[in-house]
């Protein structure tokens, strides 16, 4: 790992100040930063440790919604009773991510800052071309092994998949990222690669994520996260869906529905077309299957990842039918 200086932030204000230095990077759980520093992808000159800051690890659930401190650990949020009751998709997305050890380290704020698992991005010694790592250098993934690459939201510059699970659930339920006083809807926090894939999140140097809030909703209360992958545990999603459902009093007409996708897109992907097609409709398998196909409108396969275009709608449908009590 390259040489860097180490400083422990004494306050959020101190962290902001230290993070403004050229070459500074914030250290929370370390599961992305130290991993990528060892790969030679992250090249910090100054590491600013924020893990000793007090009061940033709260997990609060009120009638208005959940407030997750940026330093709350993934494992603690996953096991929190109120989160499990009010936001089951959030708990399920968390405990199905990474491993127990990584979840004890990784924080909610840091989770939003995790980088892609694109093998070309992670291996600068073998692949010089990566627009995400080195803007303008090209993309080694195109024409390479693309089984895990994105089919939605890609650009000519980048086809890397956003690997997040939690972020998928957050996008489904309109969570807000708090950067101190500045608040950004989570869907806007994640950026499409476009011509600048090096910029993945709408956060400026010197800004610090302080919390994530999720508004309460009936759909969030009746929700699930379904993750389909090559291995049953400790693996990134081949395709995943966070789904929430609210039914009318008749128990079969869809009043509200939320659908977001993971493992298939360059950012956590809200499937508005699926939601629109199902609102007001009767919950039944054929309608759900047909509507789920709409999530893949505009999808572009790279060769090895065509299966995701077939798989993702089935994952969505199964998740909807599961929360609807039909699967």
């Amino acid at each position: 790992m390259r040489d860097f200086t180490y400083a422990r932030a004494a306050s959020v204000e101190d962290a902001r100040r230290l993070a403004q230095q050229s070459g500074a990077m914030l250290l929370a759980g370390g599961t992305t930063l130290l991993d990528l520093a060892k790969c030679g992808v992250a090249r910090p000159d100054h590491v600013v440790d924020i893990t000793h800051l007090k009061g940033l690890d709260a997990i609060e659930v009120t009638r208005e919604g959940a407030h997750l401190g940026a330093l709350a650990k993934m494992s603690h949020v996953a096991d929190d009773k109120a989160i499990r009751a009010e936001f089951p998709a959030v708990s399920e997305a968390l405990w199905q991510a990474a491993s127990a050890q990584l979840r004890n380290m990784a924080t909610i704020g840091g989770n939003l800052m995790q980088r892609t698992r694109c093998a070309y991005f992670r291996d600068p010694n073998s692949f010089a071309a990566c627009n995400k790592r080195q803007p303008g250098s090209g993309c080694a993934a195109r024409g390479g092994i693309t089984r895990n690459h994105a089919v939605l939201g890609t650009s000519s510059s980048c086809i890397a998949t956003n690997p997040g699970d939690l972020a998928v659930a957050l996008v489904a339920f309109d969570a807000i990222v708090h950067l101190g006083d500045r608040k950004v809807p989570v869907d806007d926090f994640f950026l499409l690669p476009g011509a600048t894939p090096d910029r993945e999140q709408a956060i400026e140097p010197g800004e610090v994520i302080t919390a994530v809030s999720i508004p309460a909703s009936a759909a969030a209360r009746r929700s699930t996260y379904l993750k389909v992958r090559d291995r049953q545990s400790y693996e990134f999603a081949a395709a995943s869906a966070a789904v929430g459902l609210d039914l009318e009093a008749d128990g079969r007409t869809i009043r509200d529905i939320r659908v977001a996708l993971g493992g298939v897109a360059t950012k956590p992907w809200r499937a508005h077309a699926v939601e629109k097609a199902l609102k007001g409709k009767t919950l039944e398998p054929e309608t759900v299957m047909r509507a789920s196909l709409l999530a893949m409108e505009g999808a572009i396969a790279q060769g090895d990842n065509h299966y995701k275009i077939d798989l993702a709608p089935r994952v969505i449908a199964r998740a909807i039918l599961k929360v609807g009590g039909l699967a």
């Binding site: 790992m1 390259r2 040489d3 860097f4 200086t5 180490y6 422990r8 250290l27 370390g30 599961t31 130290l34 991993d35 520093a37 060892k38 790969c39 590491v47 440790d49 893990t51 000793h52 494992s75 096991d79 990474a98 491993s99 127990a100 050890q101 990584l102 004890n104 380290m105 049953q232 545990s233 400790y234």
Partner: protein, 158 residues
């Protein structure tokens, strides 16, 4: 080279002072500076679990933790699982009884992970044990015996 840091680590109940470069991981601090070689370096990239230790009672990966980051925290390694000269920890005894290893390289990490897994209450069924032990890889493939050992240790500790 960045200025070395003088830090104090609490390892297995003992305060240890050391002077290290800022980039030294907890794993390297334990193995290379404190001569505690029970925590193993497998992948050194947060993927295999061989370096699992407890920080403030929770299992974490020492290879993705900076030593400087855990100053003031309570660190427990496999060497500190039981007091000197004491009998084996019930998890260690169960691993022996069930032959839950072949080469043994992943075993200290498996044991530290299993102790925490049981304490967390995530060992209630074989399926849950497999899910919550998935961060510890065993390339010899001793998984069925590891699950059996964790199951037995859970009973012994309950």
């Amino acid at each position: 080279m960045s200025k070395p840091l003088k830090i104090k680590l609490h390892v297995n109940g003992v305060a240890r002072e050391l002077v290290i470069e800022p980039r030294v991981t907890l794993l390297d601090a334990l193995r290379e500076h404190l001569n505690l070689t029970g925590s193993k370096k497998g992948c050194d990239q947060g993927q295999c679990g061989a370096c699992t230790v407890h920080v403030d009672g929770e299992r974490v990966l020492a290879c993705l933790t900076l030593a400087a980051q855990v100053e003031g925290r309570e660190i427990t390694t496999v060497e500190g699982l039981t007091p000197d000269g004491a009998e084996l920890h019930p998890v260690q005894a169960a691993f022996l009884k069930h032959d839950a290893f072949q080469c043994g390289y992943c075993t200290p990490g498996q044991i530290m992970s299993a102790v925490a897994c049981i304490r967390e209450g995530h060992a209630s069924s074989d399926a849950e044990i497999r899910e919550y032990m998935s961060g510890n890889l065993c390339r010899c493939g001793a998984y069925p015996h590891i699950v059996a050992a964790v199951r037995e240790a859970r009973e012994a500790l309950s």
